[in-house]
């Protein structure tokens, strides 16, 4: 290229129509193209050929194995999972991203702060998919005290179905039978005039409601059944099954009165001192039980990062990243729509929904297809975010083609033959989609 810098002979003006120094022009072209040719040749063309050839050889490249590697892709469980997962990705993500982008694009045309909205939703596009994965891994932690997603779900779930006050509680003696899920039942059958002592332990001091007072063993009720639910525990001892000084009642506990068939006939709530009474009962025998709701656990968290939900978890993170892309591209398409066509439809009395479905969407079709196809390509190559959201223990279940390729070639097994075959598979899947997109943007360029 050095000889290109100063060339006085170029000073001679070229007569129009003629091309002297054609060779010189070619030499210039060669010099301008050479650096690109070197980079493309060594880093793209050569490796592509090499990878295709390599895919027909065994793991260390010493033996030609024909199509064995390709057969292995479709017979190895781990790789089949990867292909299945990628199929899920392909079926779900491009469609959702395009739909979300379309809805956002249409809606933000109606608000005055659309730029702020666009910035918020588009922002994840700037950060790495890897960092996006870290962000969502933090969000997805199972413990609702740590993971924001489960904290949010938990707040809603616990509001709809409130947890019982004493989810950890255990019976203090074997006078209570059954499991907390069934409700802890006072073993001895009860008749009118009896008293049931329902002692519980394993209740942390801070779980006891503030209004709880000293527990009281109630006097029998002549025609009814009385009892008490209390914390049957004293630090450093105390006698199980006996209401003692310093032991507090459990207020607000629902006690069920059950007939011999186990059906609940009446319920009552305990007072501040833990006492309760069914004032009037027919001839027995009955049983009394602390209701199962008392022991109902609070929301314990969806296991997003576990094996069964890991793919949806990664997909959510991925959509969070790409929705902004779809929104911006579709938004640009929307801005370019002929306003008069939309107005004409409205003037003719079409509702907003009709305009959207019958006019906007058909006119946007080319843009929607470009977004959709671009997302298909992106989804086929998805890699970073899977590796950063999925913990090691869930990676087999979260596997996708690009990840399978990397793990096969560089993740310890180092099978370059099989790895090459997976890369070629990915290549073959991407070709038609990218060819479509390139043809599309060549036409418009």
């Amino acid at each position: 290229m050095a000889d290109e810098t100063d060339r006085p002979e170029m000073a001679t003006p070229e007569p129009p129509g003629e091309r002297p120094g054609l060779w010189r022009r070619h030499r210039a072209a060669l010099a301008f193209l050479a650096p690109a040719a070197v980079l493309l040749g060594i880093w793209i063309v050569y490796p592509t050929v090499r990878t295709i050839v390599r895919s027909f050889f065994d793991s260390d490249g010493s033996e030609f194995v024909g199509l064995d590697n390709y057969e292995e892709i479709f017979t190895t469980d781990l790789l089949v999972t990867a292909i299945q997962n990628n199929a899920i990705w392909l079926a779900v993500v491009p469609m959702l991203v395009t739909a979300i982008g379309l809805v956002f694009g249409v809606l933000i045309e109606r608000i005055p702060w659309s730029i702020a909205f666009r910035t918020a939703v588009f922002m994840p596009m700037a950060i790495s998919l890897f960092a996006a994965g870290v962000i969502w891994r933090v969000m997805d932690q199972r413990d609702p005290d740590i993971g924001a997603l489960n904290a949010g779900i938990g707040a809603v779930a616990d509001a709809i179905d409130p947890p019982g006050g004493f989810s950890e509680a255990q019976p203090s003696t074997d006078r209570l039978a059954d499991t907390p899920e069934e409700g802890l039942r006072f073993r001895r059958p009860l008749q009118a005039g009896d008293v049931a002592l329902l002692g519980l332990t394993a209740i942390a001091p801070d779980e006891i409601p503030d209004e709880a007072t000293q527990a009281v063993e109630p006097d029998p009720v002549p025609d009814g059944i009385a009892g008490v639910a209390w914390v049957d525990f004293l630090p450093g001892g105390g006698e199980p099954g006996v209401v003692e000084e310093e032991e507090r009642g459990l207020p607000g506990v629902t006690v069920e009165l059950r007939d011999p068939g186990g059906e609940t006939v009446e319920t009552v709530e305990t007072g501040a001192d833990g006492t309760f009474a069914f004032e009037q009962v027919e001839a027995g025998p009955y049983t009394a039980a602390i209701s199962p709701e008392t022991f109902e656990e609070p929301f314990s968290g969806v296991d997003w990062l576990g094996p069964s939900l890991i793919t949806p978890a990664v997909i959510i993170a991925y959509i969070w990243v790409w929705a902004g892309f779809a929104m911006v591209v579709i938004g640009a398409g929307l801005a370019a729509l002929p306003r008069d066509v939309l107005e004409a439809a409205r003037t003719d009395g079409a509702s907003e929904a009709q305009v959207f479905r019958r006019v906007t969407v058909p006119l946007l079709r080319p843009v929607l297809i470009v977004v959709f196809v671009t997302m298909l390509i992106n989804v086929l190559k998805v890699f970073d975010i899977v590796l950063s959201v999925a913990p090691g223990s869930s990676q087999d279940d979260a596997n996708v083609i690009a990840l399978a390729m990397w793990r096969t070639a560089f993740g310890g097994v180092n099978d370059f033959g099989l790895g090459s075959a997976i890369a070629v598979l990915l290549f073959l899947l991407v070709i038609p989609l990218l060819a479509f997109n390139i043809r599309n943007f060549r036409r418009e360029a």
């Binding site: 060339r7 000073a11 493309l40 970073d384 990397w406």
Partner: protein, 300 residues
Amino acid sequence: MAGAADHAEPAPSMAAERPEPTSRRLARLAGKAPLNILLAFIALLWLVPTLGLFFTSLLPADLASSQGWWTVFSEPSVATFENYSELLRNDDITSALGVTVIVAIGGTVIPILVGALAAYAFAWLDFPGRDWLFLFVVALLVVPLQMALIPMFSFYNSIGIFDTALSLILFHSAFALPFAIFLLRNFFVGIPRDLLESARIDGASELRIFVRLILPLGLPAIASLAIFQFLWTWNDFLVALTFGRDTQPITVAIFSQFRQFGANIDLIAPAAFVSLVVPLVVFFAFQRYFVQGLLAGSVK
């Protein structure tokens, strides 16, 4: 955008060209309250994850693995920048940030320069087979970089540049070229022929034309491309994971802390946040170019 709001109105109000009475305008705004609330909620939903990472990074190390980020709002506040000063004292992280900067700059400058040279040749120089060659270069867009990982792994090892910033820069440069050449060539073609011809008549060499004329005129396209490529290389994980061992960019350095995600969150969260501050700044500073590049890449 202001005009777009009117189009959302049902047909009857369209007739009114007169200034809208205040009462009507208020009524219309009230009618849009549900939409505004819904979109505000969605925007919040989109912001919370990133903010969550930031707040997590402010949690003291002993709380980070057992508490959600919203505890930074507890009274008195437990928020601290201790994790960040700890991060600056961590040689692995600081050197990784250095590698990231070098790779991102090198991986942006080289392909744009090389791509612009080639694009100029494809746009304004005559040589046999030009159109076919251009088509071939564009066709290289379909090659996923996975196709090059295995051969380049062996190649880098054999020529001894494995695990260097150079190996990452060259890999990124090559894979950026097809799109760079495609985009820039299409842009350069639009430069008025007269400008070039008169420069040639004045005796300027092709290189001089390229430097003095093409590069300045091509700046809008080059800027879009540069922003894209910078973000791409800065954010890369796959290439760096394959070719970096000791020479790790920040993404790979963070990944190597993943073995104990929960226990290392006081390192992972601030490091991840630092890694995304630079792209965010670039994004906010050059949002317009970024969107232009995006549209050029997908629609046009």
